[in-house]
Symmetry: none
């Protein structure tokens, strides 16, 4: 019996996963283009060339970061959408889920926000466009359903309301840092309060 027989007991975050986390952090901080693969390697304690044992290219790192994030996002979103909630409860649950994803994938979200516009046209990143279509259907559909039911205001351009809601939530990724008093649930609660009831005092 040798050491090789033992199963690793520490959580099996593979080297690859660690490298992706490092890359995501640097991409988020400096932008994808401005990040050199040498910089990623430095922060990972290896030489630039060595990364190519783990990844085909810098672009494939970006690809894996974004698709991993979107996979998790849709796992959460799909669960909400399948739960058969009312339209207001659906919006609340989607917003809460969004802030939870921002909390868990902050770097990936920041990278996504910065880069999707330049990537969406590339064949390799075709899934971004697909995700965005599905995303818009989910949100816009919920808002329109709510407007028809009298839960949401009917006097607003639904597309404008959709963009307002979408941007308002996701831009938070650029500054949101979890701390003692503002966990993702608390941020979500306050955001929902602002978005649904407005900033103006009730008369």
């Amino acid at each position: 019996m040798t050491d090789n027989d033992t199963v690793p007991t520490s959580k099996p975050t593979s080297k690859k996963t660690e490298l992706l986390a490092t890359a995501a952090r640097v991409f988020a901080e400096h932008g994808y283009r401005a990040t050199t693969v040498r910089r990623i390697a430095d922060e990972a304690g290896m030489l630039a060339g060595s990364l190519y044992y783990h990844f085909d290219s810098k672009e494939s790192m970006l690809d894996e970061i974004l698709s991993a994030f979107l996979d998790e996002l849709w796992t959460g979103y799909d669960a909400v959408l399948a739960a058969g909630l009312g339209s207001r409860e659906t919006v609340e649950a989607l917003v809460a889920e969004s802030f939870r994803e921002i909390d868990r994938h902050r770097d990936a979200v920041a990278v996504y926000q910065k880069e999707w516009r330049h990537l969406v046209g590339l064949p390799r990143f075709g899934y971004l466009a697909a995700s965005q279509r599905k995303f818009e259907q989910a949100w816009l559909g919920t808002l329109q359903r709510g407007a028809a039911e009298g839960v949401f205001r009917a006097d607003l351009d639904p597309r404008l309301a959709y963009r307002f809601l979408r941007d308002t939530v996701w831009v938070a990724a650029s500054w949101y840092r979890p701390d003692g008093e503002h966990g993702p649930e608390e941020i979500a609660r306050q955001y929902l309060s602002m978005v649904l009831d407005g900033l103006a005092a009730q008369p």
Copy 2:
């Protein structure tokens, strides 16, 4: 009498101004880093080296684009702030002014949004930090004044409300395109309606 006799009545946009508009457009579309000076020159119909007759560097183009935008922005903001309006009217006027600036400097705003985080630490762009401090004072002060006067809700974290409002307005630059039905004033009106009164139907 021929056209040649007339003095040009359209403002004589200098070559430099035209080049800055071209550069801003390309920066906005592809990002500052990803934009090559050869690309800018191509779109301006000249060779890359020729740009250096008009500008010291690629960075100085960016500088001129951003500072021209901020100068105009503050001209508008300062007028609003000096008008002695009530806090709600001030917010309405600032939002309207913001959409007007987005309309007139769409490319510059997009560049600003994408790049300020990487620029704010550079000595040359120190004015960005100064502008941001002044910006926060203006908005946050107005929101707090309104909360104290009972015009805005007092149960919200004012910093969160400030960020919400700020992001919500400026992110619009990334998708807003003026068209027949949605001029900047109309967009501002609808945004204000959402932001102040919320998306939920009134009970």
Copy 3:
């Protein structure tokens, strides 16, 4: 038993050292400014960009060439100055050491001669000025000591004599090529004879 069995006995001049020798040769021949890094790379059998694996910049090549030369020069000079020789013997030993350095670092000396005036003001090359001050102290001090002791003529402007001696020796680097009959020791001997006793026939 083949050649492959023998351990290389020649000192293993590193790639970096070889590249510096190549660079020094090209700098000496064409001047630092007129030398392109592509030219150096060509002569080293690589591409221009590859040089940057070994060096930070063209300027750092120059820096390493000059500081390596000055280090060796001062090793020799310091040994002479510490030997406690008489003033005439000190001059003779310094001249001999100088020609030995010219012989071993001919390219570096030529580069030094051509470029020091443009470099001495740059912070990076501050050590050039320090070296020159120390150099002048060593030579001028020795000449003045010899004049006081009656070994050297006392009717000459010492600063003029210093410059005369300094230039006279080092300019030789621009034409000196070692050959069978004129090794550095022989050149030094004849130079000393001219410098100390003059060209005129003794009456």
Copy 4:
């Protein structure tokens, strides 16, 4: 009667001559390659392109600077050589003439010293090689005649003595600045004393 009628009374240094003096000064200070034509134009108070009304190229400025200097040098040298002096007096007169030329054409001499090696191979500057051949004949011949006559030491390699004398005089151009006490004649006198009689005290 108008101002236009007056004949210029100041010496008619043409614009071209002024520009050449400016160019020579900048070439001497920074080197030919490192000098931009824009810099010359700046110092002359015009734009770079304007220089091309006066000169064909940057190289032609260099050409005119060097050939003007050599013309004057040879006027002086030829007069000395034609005077039928003894060999020692010839050497003394040539040295004195050299320092006079250094005094009057300091910039041109400095440029010559720095650049001749890179120019001598170019067809346009073929006259440099011709001048150098003639120069060597004049000096070497005089030294050899003097050695044969017993005026100069016969135990020295004449070529070495020639180079020693040549370099020793002309390198002075790199540091010589005329002042109250050291005019060209005084410098020449002291140099001749060192060169002919040596630095050592007479026994």
